[in-house]
Symmetry: C2
């Protein structure tokens, strides 16, 4: 193994890591805005003033009529009343003005045209002149915008370090400027490294499929977008393979023209993790390892008067360390603070353990179920980017805490506007593709009067299996659960479990018919062993792969074998257990087994053939109180549209007869 392996990870607390890095940045004058540039005002939206803006001219720059009418000297109108109107000669005592016109000399008030009556003179344009009659005295400065009413030349219009909004741009031009001096945008380079990395574009060019060991490169797109969102100019560099000199040279070149270079990944302490050594060679390494989760192998340094960081390879670690550590600096370089996320208090639905000594940032879904706002931790480690995609918020568990108990109040930093919480339907239970489709269906816009989109609903779903879903309903943590629990005695679905798990707890529910889905045998392409029925599983040349005990699919298999009088023990591989549909499919794909029982989607996902054999019911279980709520109304409507049934059928592997019917109310 490489001699570069002498850079060990030493996790330090997040605060300490930031202090050490910031101290080094300060020495390099990198803890202050980077520089200024003067740009045309119309291009300055969202930029930050580097200099105060002082008014060059006043606005208005003259006393201006604020109404269409006649400019007068207020003194000349004194005494006018309805019973004793006063006449003013147009062009002498009363000068016609339109809104915005300058007040003629000697006038200091405007009378609205609607409040005058015009008496034409002898002849148009003649010396006789017209006359107006007024019935009310006019106070001085009535309907006049005095000079400088809005802005006075020399006064402060905007301070430095102010992020420019549309009204600010108007004011800058309105007080006489064409340009504005703002901080320049930081230049950020993202360097993806790794011999195993490929881009989709490369595969398309090479016309080859992904192969085991290929890793799709997408972190640089995500990190680049984070820097872009923070107002930076971003360069996404080409992938560099794991070779010390190549990475070092790419970094050195990027440092020439960027304020910050982020290397992704190679930041751990493995045999091909060169980042720490490269940072040390090109500059100074301040931090290698941060005690935050997700996070850990973060590298912080400076080199050649620039900031140089190593970002972990797992996507959630990459996104969250960039956001907590790098983004604040990118904003500081532009003179502003990062936008703060809205925060709410929620009830945690599950006990969480957090290692002492680590700052943990836990992804949660958030929804209002009944009176409570509940936060449910999303499973999945640092490699599960979908946990960040699906998260409604982040709960920070500080490093001196061991975690939380279920029922604890926690503070959630929301990734969506707070208003969305009241539009969120929390679904916890078994996962199904048709439920995904329902989430999409709810987001479909139909043309209509409803511009406010307040009918919008968002499905926030956590997949914990059918039993987990019923338990969530029992505890009042979800609006709805998807379940396909077969009662081996009766052959019916879900009803028995509801009576056992929900009814005794006083949770009345509606059992709603959703889909019947096909279970079948996943077999290699072309079905080389010609496996057609459950009986074939007993053939000596057929190797089966099973699901774990308790899985719905296993219960279904056992039920059907029993119905057919087949002996499970005679099946080769019956004892071999996998934990998901997809793991079963993967075993078949790899050739480790000839077949396994599962759903069509899993077979499709791995491009296997599928022999449909059985049907199982997948119902929705909805507490009555939610079933009748405004929140769920759009979802129930969507389920019952022919359009949605059509879309589910197009997925393949589903029967939709009776979708949306109430099977039973408990």
């Amino acid at each position: 193994m490489s001699n570069k392996r002498n850079f060990y990870l030493h996790d330090v607390a997040l605060d300490d890591a930031l202090s050490a890095w910031h101290a080094a940045l300060a020495i390099q004058s990198l803890l202050t805005p980077l520089g200024q540039e003067t740009i045309p005002v119309p291009q300055a939206l969202g930029r930050v003033t580097a200099q105060p803006v002082w008014a060059r001219i006043s606005s208005p720059h003259y006393h201006a009529a604020a109404m269409d009418g006649y400019a007068v000297a207020a003194e000349r109108t004194h005494g006018a009343t309805e019973t004793s109107p006063k006449r003013l000669v147009v062009g002498v005592d009363a000068m016609p003005v339109d809104t915005g016109d300058p007040l003629p000399p000697g006038t200091n008030a405007v009378i609205m045209i609607e409040e005058t009556q015009l008496f034409p003179g002898d002849e148009p344009g003649g010396s006789g002149g017209s006359t107006i009659e007024i019935m009310k005295a006019s106070p001085p400065w009535q309907y006049v915008r005095p000079l400088g009413e809005d802005m006075v030349a020399t006064e402060l219009v905007l301070p430095a370090n102010h992020q420019l909004r549309p009204q600010d741009l108007g004011a800058i031009v309105g007080c006489g400027h064409t340009e504005v001096t703002v901080y320049r945008r930081p230049r950020v380079a993202i360097l993806p490294t790794g011999t195993e990395l490929v881009t989709i574009e490369q595969l398309q060019q090479l016309a080859r499929p992904l192969q085991p060991g290929d890793i799709l490169e997408y972190n640089s797109i995500m990190l680049g977008a984070q820097a872009e969102e923070a107002g930076c100019l971003v360069t996404r560099l080409p992938i560099v393979a794991d070779a010390y000199a190549a990475i070092r040279d790419a970094v050195a070149a990027a440092l020439e023209s960027h304020d910050l270079v982020a290397i992704n990944a190679g930041s751990s302490a493995g045999s091909e993790d060169y980042t720490a050594a490269i940072v040390a060679e090109l500059g100074e390494l301040q931090v290698h390892g941060v005690a935050m989760r997700p996070g850990h192998p973060v590298i912080l340094g400076t080199a050649r008067g620039k900031a140089l960081v190593g970002i972990p390879g797992y996507p959630v670690s990459a996104a969250m360390t960039f956001e907590r550590i790098v983004t604040p600096l990118l904003y500081l370089w532009q003179g502003i603070e990062p936008p703060s996320l809205p925060r709410i208090t929620a009830t945690l639905t599950r006990k969480t353990l957090s290692p002492l000594g680590e700052d943990e940032f836990m992804r949660v879904t958030v929804g209002r179920v009944g009176e409570r706002v509940v936060a449910t931790p999303l499973g999945g480690g640092a490699g599960v980017l979908m946990s960040l995609v699906k998260a409604d918020g982040i709960v920070n568990i500080p490093r001196f805490s061991e975690g939380h108990n279920a029922g604890d109040a926690v503070t959630v930093a929301l990734l969506h506007p707070p208003a969305r919480i009241d539009q969120t339907i929390v679904v916890i239970g078994s996962h199904d593709m048709a439920l995904d489709l329902l989430a999409d269906q709810l987001s479909q816009r139909t043309s209509g009067q409803n511009i406010s989109l307040k009918e919008n609903r968002f499905l926030s779903s956590a997949h914990v299996g059918s039993m987990g879903g019923l338990l969530a309903l029992q505890r009042g943590e979800a609006h709805m659960a998807g379940a396909h629990l077969l009662d081996e005695e009766s052959g019916d679905y879900n009803v028995g479990y509801i009576r056992q798990m929900l009814t005794p707890h006083g949770v009345r529910v509606v059992l709603l018919r959703f889909v019947q889905r096909q279970q079948g045998l996943m077999v290699a392409r072309g079905n080389p062993k010609d496996i057609r029925t459950l009986d074939d599983l007993l053939r000596p040349d057929v190797a089966f792969v099973n699901r774990q005990r308790g899985a719905g699919t296993r219960v279904l298999l056992d039920y059907e074998l029993k119905q057919r009088g087949l002996d499970a023990r005679a099946i080769q591989g019956y004892a071999r257990q996998e934990y998901t549909h997809l793991a079963v499919a993967a075993a078949v794909k790899s050739g480790a087994a000839d077949c396994g029982l599962g759903i069509l989607a899993a077979a499709r996902a791995l491009e296997l053939d599928f022999v449909p054999l059985l049907q199982e019911r997948y119902d929705l279980v909805i507490p009555l109180v939610h079933y009748e709520s405004e929140l769920l109304a759009p979802l129930l409507r969507a389920i019952r549209t022919p359009e949605f049934a059509q879309r589910v059928q197009e997925l393949g592997g589903y029967e939709v007869a009776g979708m949306g019917d109430v099977i039973e109310t408990t």
Copy 2:
């Protein structure tokens, strides 16, 4: 007057106006997203999915090692303990893997390299093979990222109508896409109209100064930025003069290539207000006049399958009607809701009257003074853009309300992040340029450790005169007041007023020395009448213009005249009153008077000469409780820096000796 004047304003309620317009838009299929386009993922930040994104490939797409170490069959490790370790042959029972590598066939778990001990074989690469020793059994799938752990091919990754964030872009690429289908961005044209409009650029090209009657065009920049902020592609069209055919033709041309054309202004019912007639000629006019304040002359229509609106000319009306009426449509066209502003409850400091039947949107400053969050209405009509620049929030007074009393709780939609409230110093009182400079000084960034910028302070100032400031302190509505109240008896400043207005109410304050400012005579350029002293005011050839009774400057003049034994009644124009420094300057500028007393800044603003005569003290009055607070600490530090004193002196017209000294504590 033009025969186009037959389009009268008929104000309708905002809700009714929107309903009428939306109904017309719906008929034209304009109340739904406009269309789709497919773009490369890296360009899609902030765009909105028009189609759901389904995973094309699984991620990972193979069972992957999650640690550097050895892949094993978990069964082979059973029984290993510290006291009875187990040996595995490398390359046979234990296959070396790095993080991300595919699991070799027959393996289903990974042992971390740190948990093994290596015994080299007889010879490198020889058939003898190395051996590792393990002291712990490995459960199946330990340190393995199973196929599809993150995303499973065919599953829903993102629904339609989802605004794309960095993590979403990562997920889209991670599941096998290079492009994403999003709603296209609306194309918006802004057409400024008005014969009197000029741009700064035009004046620079013509090398001529602004002349009375010229109106600087900046609404199109502001409105364009609003549309840009809402994600649109914006065309700012050249100014068109007030000529019916020219405007109509420009609008017709813009309709060809834009989804919405906004005409600014000509939307009222004046002689040159053509917009309504043009909308009616080119399409259908639904609304002419909306009962909202600021607002009113808003025109809503449709033409040639596009949206066509007339936006009022006053900048605050323009910005606020665009935001309330047009912006939601621009977001709807992209499938999303407008971002919602954070809301807080605040105590209103002043009684406000609101006309029944109008939706009013009141600009307020917001700050936390003691225990209360207070909202103070900003003065100024629809022409005062600075009221929108300075506003911290908007209070909506619905059309069935007559307004609020002082002390009422109101809901404020915040224009800044809520956290800023606790960094806001509320200053109410007399206005002074040095206070502007202080606001800027507070926003200066100094290089240092403090990356969080939590030391930042924002000055939120309302100008209500010295007395108004002391009253605000009396009522606990401000942290600080600027005051220059001369006691005619003692010749001292502020002290007597504080004893009278604050001490009896239990408000203990620190009177802090701020600046001495020069008052002097503003005279025409070159001082043609050679006015040098107060005695000159009595000359028969000198016409004076005075400030209103009660103004600090008038009190100062009277005091000084009395000290010198001069008879005010002998001054020509002594009775002529203006209400601001600037109005006095304007009277001198126009030739209506030869001189007036005021401050240097006013003379400078109108490019007048200035004869310094007197000095007045402008102090800061700070309640003791705030003086000692964290909030004010950075401000007090800033006042006491030599750098700030230097900047004030550079303004001219100021003495800064003793700035920041405590004159008295009551």
